[in-house]
Amino acid sequence: MNKLQEIAWKEKFPQFAGEVEIHARLELPRRIDLHQIPWIRPLLQSRWPQFLIRSLTLAGFVFTIFAGLFGSRVGSHNFAIIFVWIAWWTALKLAFIPLGGRSWCSVCPIPLPGEWLQQGGILEKSRRRFGLNLRWPKRLRGSWLQSGGFLLIGLFSAVTLTDARLTAWVLIGLFGLAVILSLVFERRAFCSYICPIGGFTGIYAKTAPVELRVIDTAICAAHSEKTCYQSCPWGLYPVALRDSAQCGLCMECLRSCPSDNIAVNLRPFGTDLAADIKSMRQSSRLDEAFLALVMLGSALAFAAVFTGPWGNLKSAAFAIGSPVWLLYGLGLLVLNLVILPGAFVLTVWMGQRWSGVKVQLRRAIADQAQVLLPQGLFAWIAFTVSFAFPKMNYVLSVISDPLGWGWNLLGTANSTWSPDVSAFSHALQVALLLVGLFWSARVAQRLVRKSNQPVFRQALPILLFCLVFSLAMLWLLVG
């Protein structure tokens, strides 16, 4: 148990009318309902604070595209490259996801115009709505397309991450796709099934200490209008939420609930992982297992291309369309589609053989994939330490000269200051990978304990898998 879990939260905050009753209804232990904290409550209830952040991210998004298209072609002097691939990408991996789950999704600008058209208004829905409102095709459900999208990012990463024009076109493409899908399909089809970052954020949101949950399901059962489901842009029914992978934390359900029956909880890290059999039956799925593996494979590939010592690999990843690039792409796809899934299926199968536990292999794969999440998240964080930290001076410099046009708006255009992590970055990366490995081991342990046949031997191969991955990552990052 860590400290967070031991604190008696209920006593810590001033009581206000109704709180006692609400806590009586709250069955889940070790949670703080942020929605019940007096100064946070209005911030969540009102649409304005979120709207203001969203309008700023939207303006920032438009400016990023402008900078990408018309700013300097030199990546280190272009706002689009530095803010998308250094600042935002780092903030996502170091803050938004590990601390807030899908918190970025709640302010992401990309789906907003499409959603506004869909609902006929920004703050208020109107009758004049646009779009065909079709259901998303059943065979395209799940996170398969998101995994594919992430692999595409990996294939073109070396150029996309350095070419401002291409970055702008990728953003325009994502934006256009989001708008078109909003006009054709119902709700947030783009976010739920296409957006690669949504997939990335979604699975790692399971480890995060934030969740949106219904407080008392009986109240929902008695509520015939289901206003929460009606208002959810993502098409989710809050009662059915078993984990935090899908919910985009937009707070619309909370605003529309007539019974104040929805909580935004702070919770212990990793609560969703190997939670209980019932939840797992509903939340762990093969597509998410595949996505988790793609995240591991991509972390390896990004670390090898961007922080590895191999010049040839770097040039191959850059030379899009050339034979060496095809070879690189083939290697990336084989790693992600054959080697990692193959090795993972093999380890799950071996675990079952050794322990004599009999579960359908499909089921076991989906369940065991949760073990990969903490480790994957920490591998990405460790990669970020060596990839992004040394480049932080660019963030200061592009704030003053966002387009690389020789401006110096804040006097920081020639800033050379960067957090100097060289002294301890290796130690930090080792520690991060160890934390990830340890956490994954805990998830594996919990998974066994919660299963019908608690034989610990079945976790050994999967732990070996994690250990090998950690060592590979360690080798790529620390050498």
Binding site: V62, F66, S76, W405, G406, W407
Partner: protein, 332 residues
């Protein structure tokens, strides 16, 4: 409904601001022309042709989109300025005389580095008036592409110092600038061989005299200027030691592929000349070399330097080129 309209206005204002503010700031701050530098293969200078009036300041914002380049004006004393990726270098130029000026890159940015050139057309009242004197190789009617070989070669590198020690006086007609510029060392050697009073000298002695004649047509200062020009502009292909083995040399004589693209090194290019090759160099007159430098080598990849170098610079460079054949300096 009022809230909705406020929200819509906020979005419109912010999105419009995101685009208009940078455009407005840019308009307000820029009173010059932005010139982007890229390697010749990906575009060179953009824009590459500028026009300005005599006496009017031409304010340029130079930036590079790829590697470090440098900006210099041909036939001018202004030192080159660096053009750094993602940064802006401001240059203000004022031209006193009308004409067509060439600006170029002085950094060896790629194998097609020399193609990074642009022009500045300076217009003025007397723009069309000036008559241009044709260069020497044209007045001599030299076919600078013709093969040229020296038949008799020195056994060792001819030395001006040894030539001086012979104590023989070279007839004045052979050491005049006019003779020097229009004749090759081999021409002079044959002329000296034909002189009856020099018949006692060995072939090598005569070569040493040739070196002396060549030395008398240059100065140590001129050789320093030539060396500097050579190091900056020629050594990339011809090599520091003149052996035709500069860093770009291998790229220029790669086997030619079937498809023709103008920018591809290895197509329509040849291995750079070797200035240490006595057979060729000793048969080349300064006028012939001037032609090659001015015009460039057709179909060999040798650039034309006419718009870049002044006449003095070209003669200094040529004087230095003979350094690869002769010991011109008075070293004991």
């Amino acid at each position: 409904m009022r809230k909705e309209w406020i929200a819509r206005s906020v979005i419109l204002v912010l999105v419009a601001a995101a685009i208009t503010i940078p455009v407005v700031v840019w308009q307000a701050r820029s009173r010059g022309i932005v010139i982007h530098a890229r390697m010749a293969e990906t575009g060179g200078w953009t824009p590459e042709n500028l026009t300005v009036e005599v006496g009017q300041p031409l304010r340029l914002h130079l930036t590079s989109d790829d590697v470090m380049h440098s900006f210099a004006i041909g036939q001018s004393d202004e030192p080159p300025v660096n053009v750094i990726p993602g940064e802006i270098t401001e240059v203000t130029l004022v031209f006193d005389e009308p004409g067509k000026y060439t600006f170029y890159c002085t950094r060896w940015c790629s194998v097609n580095h020399w193609r990074m050139r642009g022009t500045i057309e300076v217009t003025g009242p007397e723009a069309a008036a000036e008559a241009v004197e044709p260069p020497l190789y044209v007045t001599l009617g030299l076919d600078i592409d013709a093969e040229h070989h020296a038949e008799i070669l020195p056994e060792q590198i001819p030395s001006a110092r040894r030539g001086a020690q012979l104590g023989v006086e070279i007839p004045n007609k052979y050491i005049s600038q006019e003779f020097y510029r229009s004749h090759s060392p081999a021409d002079l050697w044959h002329a000296l061989r034909g002189e009856a009073r020099l018949s006692s000298l060995t072939n090598q002695d005569l070569w040493d005299l040739v070196a002396l004649a060549w030395q008398s047509n240059t100065t140590p200062q001129e050789l320093i200027v030539g060396k500097q020009l050579y190091a900056t502009n020629c050594a990339a292909c011809h090599g520091e030691s003149g052996g035709g083995d500069g860093v770009f040399a291998d790229g220029l004589d790669q086997p030619k592929t079937g498809e023709h693209t103008d920018m591809q090194a290895g197509e329509m290019t040849a291995r750079p000349s070797d200035f240490t090759d006595a057979e060729h160099m000793l048969a080349a007159s300064p006028a012939r070399l001037q032609g090659k430098v001015l015009r460039g080598g057709m179909g060999t990849g040798m650039p034309y330097w006419g718009p870049i170098f002044t006449e003095e610079q070209i003669w200094a460079l040529i004087a230095y080129l003979y350094n690869f054949q002769f010991e011109l300096e008075d070293q004991p």
